[in-house]
Symmetry: C2
Subunit: 367 residues, 2 copies
């Protein structure tokens, strides 16, 4: 399988993130993508290729052009405004309740960089740094290059996207995400094939952005397995009663899952999601692939082991659609490479040959 | 003049606040109210009284009962949920753009404490600590007791409210504010007099909460002088074109002001606001009084000196309405007591007799 990777993600260098008011070491670090790249290179069964540039049009096909403009301008504008930190995080966020009873006309992007960041942000845990925009654009290009490979005839391709994308909504960034790589890929597939497209989101978190973008679309099916928002980020979306509206009714399936979930419980939920996707027309499936479902992930609370990723990859491919697999979250660095190898080999129908990264025993404790 | 003060504010003990992703020493500290109380006691011309309890009904007359329930439950619920910090700040905020294109039915308060905080918060700079709810309730009672004094015949009374209130909207807290003391007082005045009520907001920041609460009301006039939201918190509201909707059209006057504003420029803007209030029927004016307009305030960027507060108080009283004066912001501790004395003496028509707090020279530099 081809793996689309760009070194531009290295410029999106995060050291700290602000969670519940406190700066803590960042989870969404460059080492994540580097671990996966190194493991796939060492495997020998994958070919690493660079993305080709696809321009802005596929981005603004799903995103507000204002989000693109904001992300492009944010860092230089913060610098010009004398911003003191080496990352930009908003001071306040345009809360839905701030405008209660006021017409939509009063919900506007203000001109200052602090105001713009707060208008478009979901949280304070998604800093913008000097290299964020270039990395986010490269992640989109990786997703679109993987899409090109699959639409060109390959049964599957993997975009090693960093930063991830599924929390980014039409006009908003957040949850470590800036552009929604999976939504951009799905839209490109819909446009170029004229078919329906299915998205399977197996990141630990609900992909609120993907849901929102395709909420009123009947031609893009979104199926997500995730930690129940009654306990976990993004809190506000991801409930089972969110099934779409208008032409999108029935094209959104949320499967929220409990803490401590086992491999068996996960595979049962997966089969439910894949049954829905198998019933959907269209020859291509986009996978939002997260490994924060792993038992040792520092953010997640599921109990999955590396073995299950091989099986998830196998069952996903067995639906019979071609796969555009795009990396989302996963924060336990020692296991990431092995988990990615297991998933992608499963999708290819190859056996999973454990080749643990240094210092890590699959399914066991840290060495 | 009577000064309504409750020691319960001391339980709202803030040491750190999170601004633009970084924890910094808190600005909205207990010493603010203590400095003002001490200065007014030393003055000799003020009588300190405790608030009487007014219950929940005056609060839910302007606030969503869900906000009251949240603020009451938040700290115990966070403790039960195993929250690790000694303050509660949300992980993510229900951004208006997160729901773009989705029906209002999907904008709901989630059950977890983290989700609830994020549903009702505007920012991460307004922590909830063990004593926040009791302090916020006591601040409301101080505002309502000052209201009682004025409706009982006194020409003016001062509620030394802490925490402040004017950023709190119908269903939302933020900007160091939990309940909107001024809005609760104005509503009580409207109910008990049957008259129109005017609110003059001379805090440095726009009172987005007060504006939102009375947005569609023609019987409560809101007039605010504040730093232009094109550069300053709350960023999203405070623009001059926000004049109210429905029955509230014309009952909202925003006067945004530039950085470096002098006493003269401020008094010109004040006269514009007071002219509008003088034209409004009703015998009572609520004043949201902030001293973050002071030249040395660590948050503000105006250049006002202590002298001007005496004049602002004098001109506000000269409109001829009785005054319910309620404390909002102001963060330069050494000047707070003197600035409050100057303002309140001006409102009483008494001369301003400089009696600087230790270590502080009015209008000059720090000693």
């Amino acid at each position: 399988m081809r793996v689309v990777y760009s070194p531009l993600h290295l410029g999106h260098e995060l050291r700290l993130q602000t969670i519940m008011g406190v700066q803590v070491p960042a989870d969404e670090v460059a080492g994540r993508a580097e671990r996966i790249r190194a493991a796939l290179e060492a495997d020998g069964g994958f070919e690493i290729v660079e993305p080709t540039q696809h321009g802005e049009a596929p981005i603004t096909a799903v995103h507000d052009p204002g989000l693109l403009a904001f992300l492009r301008d944010a860092w230089p504008a913060a610098r010009r405004a004398g911003h003191r930190h080496d990352f930009l995080v908003p001071e306040t966020i345009a809360s839905v309740l701030a405008y209660e009873g006021m017409s939509d006309a009063f919900r506007r992007e203000p001109p200052s960089i602090g105001g713009r960041a707060g208008y478009r942000a979901l949280d304070t845990s998604t800093p913008i740094v000097a290299g964020t925009y270039a990395a986010a654009r490269a992640a989109v290009d990786a997703a679109l290059t993987a899409t090109d490979l699959v639409l060109g005839g390959e049964p599957a391709a993997y975009g090693l996207c960093r930063p991830p994308g599924h929390h980014a909504a039409r006009s908003m960034y957040g949850g470590f995400c800036y552009f929604n790589n999976a939504a951009i890929a799905a839209q490109a597939i819909a446009e170029r094939t004229g078919e329906h497209v299915s998205i399977l989101d197996v990141d630990y978190h609900h992909g609120n952005g993907t849901e929102q973008i395709f909420w009123r679309r009947g031609d893009v099916l979104y199926v997500s397995l995730h930690a129940h928002p009654d306990r976990q980020y993004p809190y506000f979306l991801g409930w089972p009663e969110e099934t779409g509206e208008g032409p999108g009714v029935g094209a959104n399936l949320n499967i929220p899952l409990p803490a401590g979930l086992s491999n068996e419980g996960y595979l049962e939920a997966l089969d439910r999601g894949l049954d829905r996707i198998a019933a959907e027309p269209g020859s291509v499936m986009v996978v939002s692939l997260g490994f924060d479902t792993f038992g040792q992930d520092p953010i997640g609370d599921f109990a999955l082991t590396t073995d299950v990723y091989h099986e998830v990859g196998r069952r996903s491919a067995a639906v019979g659609k071609r796969l555009v697999v795009l990396q989302e979250g996963g924060y336990h660095l020692p296991s990431l490479g092995d988990n990615a190898r297991a998933w992608l080999r499963g999708a290819e129908g190859r056996p999973y040959d454990p080749q643990p990264a240094a210092g890590y025993t699959p399914g066991g404790t840290r060495a």
